[in-house]
């Protein structure tokens, strides 16, 4: 387990290097530069700016310098916010993105698990049908489409919730719900299938035969075993939540990391682009790793050698 963890962590280095290299090449291939304005800057000014940020040097030297900074935990300068560097800007967006993603994840887990479990326990009852209907409908509606539908109902028609911004609980409701619906539906499906599968196992029949109460059967045997397949989908699900969040950030004008990336692309802010791409890659990789580790903890049959 320790060796496996070390191997997975070490593998992050080439992945981050590869992603950094691809991003670097791509963003320098994007036509235009960070100094393009509606009003053309004087050539001398552009030259000075390029020299100031090292953009006059050959690309391999720029990339080398960036990597050297990365090793020391320096994500380089941004051209948009003159008094702050990329690390500070991303650190300011991080709590916002994390709050949004975290709340959506918890909501998705709570709703998905409850629905899936209830549906499996009361298979073929109206509870089951309602939850399957929910799971089927919401499993393929993109978050930003759902977000728009929510805005139409709760802001435009009912005037209950504000359409954009960040900071008050009311502003959180729609983005979190929009983001959580799809994973909730997906989790509900998997939980239902997995609980039904466990209920068919011999050890459940044995538990019934020896006279355990239904409560004990579900709490002791079913729940634990049903968790295993659910864990395996949580990694990709979390990753999906995180990348999905930046369109939701865009839709509801939420000042998170996702908006920084979009802004970076539009303004050719190389530092912001690199920083946010690496941030997302690292977060997704670490979450996947965490889930794989949890998997081994929950299921003793899983061994990583």
């Amino acid at each position: 387990m320790g060796r496996y963890l070390a191997f997975r962590l070490a593998w992050l280095v080439p992945v981050l290097f590869g992603v950094a290299l691809i991003t670097f090449v791509l963003m320098h291939t994007v036509p235009g530069g960070p100094w393009d304005r509606d009003k053309q800057l004087a050539p001398q000014v552009v030259q000075n700016l390029n020299r100031r940020y090292g953009l006059d040097r050959p690309l391999y030297a720029q990339f080398g310098r960036y990597l050297w900074g990365l090793v020391r935990g320096d994500l380089g300068p941004t051209y948009t916010y003159q008094d702050r560097d990329v690390m500070v800007v991303i650190a300011s967006g991080l709590p916002v993105t994390a709050t949004l993603g975290g709340l959506a994840f918890l909501l998705a887990l709570a709703v998905g698990f409850t629905l899936g479990f209830a549906a499996a326990v009361a298979q073929n009852s109206w509870v089951d049908y309602v939850s399957v209907l929910f799971a089927t409908l919401f499993a393929s509606i993109p978050a930003f489409v759902l977000g728009i539908l929510l805005v139409i109902v709760f802001s435009v028609t009912l005037h209950w919730l504000p359409t954009s911004g960040w900071g008050t609980p009311a502003k959180l409701v729609m983005p979190v719900v929009a983001l959580a619906a799809l994973p909730a539906a997906y989790i509900a499906r998997v939980v239902r299938a997995s609980v039904l599968e466990v209920l068919r196992q011999d050890y459940v029949r044995t538990a019934r035969a020896k006279g355990l109460t239904e409560q004990a059967i579900y709490g002791r045997h079913v729940l634990k075993n049903a968790l295993i397949p659910i864990l395996s989908i949580l990694g990709p699900e979390l990753a999906f939540l995180i990348t999905g969040s930046f369109i939701i950030e865009q839709l509801f004008s939420i000042p998170g990391v996702g908006r920084l990336f979009v802004q970076g692309v539009f303004q050719r802010d190389y530092g912001l682009i690199m920083g946010s791409v690496l941030f997302y890659t690292l977060v997704i990789a670490l979450l996947n790793l965490l889930v794989d580790m949890l998997y081994a903890v929950v299921d003793p049959r899983v061994r990583y050698a």
């Binding site: 992945v15 991003t23 994007v30 509606i141 728009i148 139409i152 435009v156 998997v190 990348t243 990336f261």
Partner: protein, 306 residues
């Protein structure tokens, strides 16, 4: 049959032995698919969407790009069944032509995914450890890349025409196909019929095409069925952010973006394209789920693939 005829001639009822040609895998799958009601609903909507996209000029009441400043932001009325947008363009016509755009994106990206993903997956599985490792590590890195971010970057580079939208989305999504095909091929490689083909001296490339590929086709079909709505979503998201299809071309994503800015004046310009995106994605998912259950019964009922 002759026994049956003989018995019938003697006027006795007989149990006719059930002589039936064994059904092929694809026939069985088709039967399973036809029995799946949700999948049939999905298929019906997908077909309707295809037809609308193909005959777009015939069914759209107006020119989708025609602006009419005397008729801006109308609600659904007799003249404009779905109303008009902020520039007085007919929403129904734009929706119909937008279906064309999203269908083109869905199909062409899958074409790229197939032409890149299948060969890479097959080559990785059959070409020996070293190149397999190299290819798969590259696939891992592209896979680790947050996909929408990569699409946006590629899109910013390529600029311009709609073909570049296909290219950007396709170049990101082929890795899923490559991984799946490699996994399939690796397990098929050890199967007896492949070993047998090898033993009687069938050259490896015809083994690949005649024996391995047909057996891996089921999951490929399923992946394409899920890939089309993914691509449609990606295009809508790109156009929504403002770097998708360039303006005169109608696209559901662009309509959503335009409509969202006037949402407090009237919700219709954003409502209809949003619903259209949701319905088409739902239909493809129903169809994809059904296809997976039909083609890959081992995985039936285990949630959807991403």
């Amino acid at each position: 049959m002759s026994t049956g005829q003989g018995a019938a001639a003697q006027g006795r009822p007989v149990a006719v032995p059930r002589v039936r040609a064994p059904r092929s895998f694809w026939q069985q799958s088709t039967r399973r698919l036809l029995k799946n009601r949700l999948a049939m609903v999905g298929l019906a909507v997908v077909l309707l969407y295809l037809i609308i996209a193909i005959v777009a000029p015939l069914v759209s009441p107006y020119d989708p790009a025609k602006q009419n400043y005397d008729a801006i932001l109308l609600g659904p009325t007799g003249g404009h069944p779905l109303g008009t947008d902020g520039l007085g363009r007919d929403s129904l016509s734009r929706l119909v032509f937008g279906a064309r755009t999203s269908l083109a994106v869905g199909l062409f990206t899958q074409l790229i995914v197939l032409t890149v993903g299948i060969p890479v997956g097959l080559v990785a599985a059959f070409s020996g450890r070293r190149s397999d490792n190299l290819l798969m590590r590259f696939v891992d890195i592209v896979f680790a890349f947050p996909d929408l971010l990569l699409i946006i970057l590629l899109r910013a580079i390529f600029g311009g025409s709609i073909f570049m939208v296909f290219l950007a989305i396709g170049l990101v999504n082929w890795v899923i196909m490559a991984r799946m095909v490699r996994g399939q091929a690796l397990s098929l490689k050890e199967q007896e019929f492949v070993l047998a083909a090898k033993a009687i001296g069938v050259p490896w490339h015809s083994t690949l095409i005649r024996h391995v590929l047909p057996n891996a086709l089921g999951p490929v079909v399923v992946l394409v069925a899920f890939g089309v709505p993914r691509a449609i979503f990606a295009e809508a998201a790109l156009s929504y952010i403002g770097i998708g299809v360039t303006p005169p071309t109608p696209s559901w994503g662009t309509m959503v973006q335009d409509g969202y800015s006037v949402i407090f004046a009237t919700p219709y310009p954003v409502l209809f394209p949003a619903v259209a995106i949701a319905v088409v994605m739902l239909a493809f998912t129903f169809l994809g789920d059904g296809l997976r259950d039909a083609l890959d019964p081992r995985h039936a009922g285990l949630g959807k693939m991403r």
